[in-house]
Symmetry: C2
Subunit: 467 residues, 2 copies
C-alpha cells in the first residue's frame, strides 16, 4: 500500500494520537482506505510521522476498539467492513468541546474552599489502591442502600467520640451530599411538615425546600443563633439549623437557645430539628460544644454532616443520622433506591478512618486552619474600627462588618474590578437584610503567604486604610 497521507499539527491542542486516529478514520469512512487493506506497522508509521510507537498504538487501539480496523496476530492491522457497525456518518463537523470555562479570579474569599495542599495524598492513594483489588471484586456490585456497614460503623464511632452523637450504624444513611440527602428526608417528613430556616442561611439546602414544594419560613438569626421565640410563634414543625457555626454568620448557638430549641422539638411528636453540623470539625477556641443530637432526649433531632470540609468537597460523601421513629419510614419509602456513593470510595474512606488517619488528618488540619485564621484576623485588626469581625470560633470562614457609606453591592463590585471575589451577607438573607455591609471571608482555600497580601489588596480596593 502507499504511505498514508497524515498531516500532524504538533502545535494543536488535539493530541497527536487523536489527529492520527481521526485522519485514518476519515480515510476509511470516505473509502480512501478499502476493506482488507493493511495499515503500516506501528514502528514504520511512528518513524515516518516522527512520533512514538505508543502514540500510534493508542490511535490504532482506538480504531480497533471501534471496529474500523482489526489486528491479526503477527500479521498486522487491516481495514474492516464499516457497514457492519452502527456507525452514523456525521452531517456536520463533530463538536466535542464544552464551552464553559469558569473564570478564576486572582483572590477568592469563598467560604466553600479548603486547603488542598495539606491533603494526605500518599495515604489516600494507598488506601484507594488497596481497595481496588481482585480480592474485593464483590465491591463492584451494589452494596447496602444506606451505605456499606463498614463505613457507617466508622462514622458512628467518629460521631460518638468527637461530637457526642449517640447512634448506631443502623441509623446512618450515607449519601452524596447534604443536598442529595435532604430531598429524601423531606419526603419522609411528609407533606404537612413546615420548615423553619435560618435567615441569613445556607442557600444550597434552602433551595431544596423550594424545589420539593415545601414551605420554608425564614427565622432571624442574631448573635445567639436562631431566634427560638420567633420559631415558637411560627407555624414551622421542622427547624433546619447550623448550631456549631451558623452559616453564614459564624455564630454559635447559645446554651439557652439550645435548650429552648430542644424543648420546642419535644413539645410535638411531629416537630423535628435538622442539625447541620457541616464544619464542626474545626473549632479553635473554648470548649467544644456537643451536638444537639447528643443532648436530645426526645429523639427529635436529625443530625446531618459531610466530609466536604474535613476531607474534600469533591469526595461527595455526606450522611444523616435518623432518629429511630424516622428510620422505619425511610426504609419503607426507599426500598428500591441504591446508595449514590461509589462503593470503592466508601471502603477507601472506611479503612482510612479505621486506621486512625481521619482523626490524625483532622488534628493536622485544625492547626493549619487555626494558623490561617490567625493570619487573617491579625491582618484585619489593623483596619479596626472600620473593619470588625465575628464568627471566628470555628469553621473556615468569618464574617466582617465594614463601616462605610457604601453598600454591599458597590463594595462587591469594587473588589471584583480588582480581581477579588467577596460574598455579601445580604446574598444569604431572605428577610433580615442588613444596611451595614457585611461579608463572608473564607480562608480555607488561601495559602498562608497570601492571606495578609489578599487582605491588603481588598482594603485597597475599598479605600480603607490601616489605622
Amino acid at each position: 500500500m502507499e504511505m498514508l497521507l497524515i498531516e500532524l499539527n504538533k502545535d494543536s491542542e488535539t493530541p497527536l494520537y487523536e489527529q492520527i486516529y481521526q485522519q485514518i478514520r476519515n480515510d476509511i469512512t470516505e473509502g480512501k482506505l478499502v476493506v482488507g487493506e493493511k495499515l503500516p506497522s506501528k514502528r514504520k508509521l511512528g518513524e515516518f510521522l516522527d512520533v512514538s510507537q505508543t502514540t500510534i498504538e493508542i490511535a490504532y487501539g482506538q480504531l480497533a476498539a471501534e471496529g474500523f480496523i482489526t489486528s491479526k496476530p503477527r500479521k498486522g492491522y487491516f481495514v474492516q467492513e464499516v457497514g457492519e457497525l452502527a456507525y452514523v456518518q456525521p452531517t456536520e463537523e463533530f463538536k466535542f468541546t464544552a464551552k464553559e470555562v469558569r473564570k478564576e479570579l486572582e483572590i477568592d474569599f469563598s467560604p466553600g474552599k479548603i486547603d488542598t495542599e495539606s491533603f494526605p495524598f500518599a495515604q489516600w492513594r494507598k488506601y484507594a489502591k488497596d481497595t481496588i483489588d481482585e480480592s474485593s471484586s464483590h465491591l463492584l456490585l451494589l452494596g447496602h442502600p444506606h451505605g456499606d456497614v463498614e463505613l457507617r460503623q466508622e462514622i458512628a464511632k467518629y460521631l460518638y467520640h468527637s461530637r457526642g452523637v449517640d447512634c448506631s450504624a443502623d441509623q446512618i444513611i450515607v449519601g452524596s451530599g447534604t443536598e442529595q440527602l435532604m430531598p429524601l428526608l423531606i419526603r419522609i417528613l411528609g407533606p404537612r411538615a413546615k420548615y423553619a430556616i435560618e435567615d441569613p442561611g445556607y442557600p444550597l439546602t434552602h433551595h431544596v425546600f423550594f424545589h420539593n414544594n415545601r414551605e420554608a419560613v425564614p427565622i432571624a438569626v442574631d448573635m445567639e443563633g436562631m431566634d427560638v421565640q420567633a420559631l415558637q410563634q411560627s407555624e414551622a414543625t421542622v427547624a433546619y439549623v447550623t448550631p456549631s457555626h451558623q452559616f453564614p454568620t459564624g455564630t454559635v448557638l447559645s446554651a439557652a437557645r439550645r435548650t429552648a430549641l430542644l424543648n420546642w422539638a419535644a413539645t410535638h411528636a411531629s416537630n423535628f430539628i435538622i442539625e447541620d453540623d457541616y464544619d464542626s470539625e474545626f473549632r479553635y477556641t473554648g470548649r467544644p460544644i456537643p451536638s444537639l443530637q447528643g443532648m436530645d432526649k426526645a429523639g427529635n433531632v436529625i443530625y446531618v454532616s459531610t466530609f466536604s470540609k474535613s476531607l474534600m468537597p469533591s469526595l461527595r460523601i455526606a450522611y444523616m443520622v435518623l432518629p429511630p421513629v424516622l428510620l422505619k419510614h425511610y426504609e419503607e419509602a426507599f426500598i428500591h433506591y441504591s446508595s449514590t456513593v461509589p462503593r470503592l470510595d466508601q471502603h477507601t474512606l472506611a479503612r482510612f478512618m479505621a486506621d486512625g488517619h481521619f482523626a490524625r488528618h483532622l488534628n493536622r488540619m485544625r492547626k493549619v486552619y487555626k494558623r490561617k485564621l490567625q493570619l487573617l484576623t491579625d491582618s484585619l485588626q489593623q483596619y479596626a474600627p472600620k473593619i470588625t469581625f465575628s464568627g471566628d470560633e470555628a469553621g473556615m470562614h468569618i464574617l466582617i462588618n465594614v463601616r462605610t457609606d457604601e453598600n454591599e453591592d458597590s463594595l462587591t463590585k469594587a473588589a471584583l474590578t480588582q480581581g477579588i471575589r467577596v460574598y455579601g451577607l445580604n446574598e444569604y438573607s431572605k428577610v433580615s437584610k442588613s444596611s451595614q455591609p457585611s461579608f463572608l471571608i473564607g480562608f480555607g482555600g488561601l495559602a498562608d503567604d497570601r492571606i495578609t497580601w489578599a487582605v491588603e489588596r481588598l482594603m485597597k480596593a475599598w479605600n480603607i486604610e490601616k489605622r
Copy 2:
C-alpha cells in the same frame, strides 16, 4: 506504673487493636488511669499481650487521635485530661453494629449482576492511583455541576461512535445513577408532563415518577416493544422507553415502532422521549441498532445511560444527554447544585476511556457475556418445549416462559426453597399481568462453570425434565 490489666479475646470478631483501645479508654474515663500517667511502650505492651507492635500502635494512635493520650517525642504516651474534650459518657453500652445481613442465596439469577471476575482491576487501579496525586490537588475542590468536561467529552465521543448519539459535551449531565438523574429531569419537564411507562417495565425508574408526584400511565409492551398506538391514544406527553433491550422482556423496539415513536414525539413541542439505553453495550446478534437520539430530527429525545452494566454497578456514574431546548431550563433550575459524582472517580474514568481501555473492556466483556448466554440457552434448550426463551439478542438477562399448571408465585417459592432466586415477570407489571409464568434470568453474575448446573438445579426445583 503497674502493668495495665488488658484481657484480649483472640476469637472475638472485635479486632485486637479495638479491644485494647476500648479497655484503655474505659480505664481513662473511669479514672483508673489518671491524668499524666505514662503508658507502657508499644514494644513492652506488645510483648506482654503477645500481639504485634503495629496492633498497639493502632490502638495508641486511635487514643491519641481522640485526645485520650498524648505522645511526647522520645518520652512516650501519657494520659490526657479528658475534661477538655467534648466527650459524652455513654448512658448505655455503645452499639456500633448494624443489624442487617443480606442473605446470600446459592444461586441468584438477578438481572442486575455483572461478571466481576473479568474486571480490569490492574488498569483501573493504575488510573485511580495516577489521578490521586499532589499535581491534581485542584480536583479536591468542586468541579463543574454537570460533571467535569474531560469526562463529558469522553462520553460524547463514545456515544457518537458506538451508539450514533449526536451531541456535544455541553449537553451531557453526569450523575450518580439513572434514579438520581430522573428527578432532575422530571423537574425541568414541568408539572404538566404526563409520563408513559412500559408495562412490564423497570421499577427503579418508575418509582421516581411516583415519588415526584407525577402521573405515569402504563403502556403495554408486546414482541415489538411499547405499543405506540396505545401511547398515542393516552394523555401522556413523555414516553420512558428502553428500546435497545426492553426491561424486562428483552424485546428490541422494532423499526416501525421507532419511526412511530419519533413521529409521536415530533407532533408536539412538549412531547419527549426518554431513551434509557441501560445495557446497549452488549449486543450479540444482528446489526447494532443506533439510538433513537441519533435518528431524532426534532430534538425531542433525552438519552439516558449508565456505566453500571459496562463497568460496575457500584461505580454510580450515569449520564443523560439533554436536547438544547431542555439544557437551558436545566442550567437555570440547578444553578446551586453540585455534581454528586466524586471528581477523582470522574477523572479516573475519563483517562481510562481516553486511553481506549473502556472500548477494549467492552469488547472483551461482549465475548464473556456472549459465552455465558450461549451456555445458558444451550442448557435451557434441553428443556424445550416446556421452557422457551426470548430477549437473547442483547443485554445480561433473558426471559423464559414456563409451560406448567403452576403459577409464578408457586414456582418462585419452589425455587427459593432450593436456594435459588428467580424474578417473576409479573413483579414488573402494573396492568398486563400474564397468566403463563415468565421469569427474568440474569446471567451476568454467574460463573461459566455454574450456568449449566444452575439451570439443572432450577429445573429440578420445578420438576421439569429434559425432553
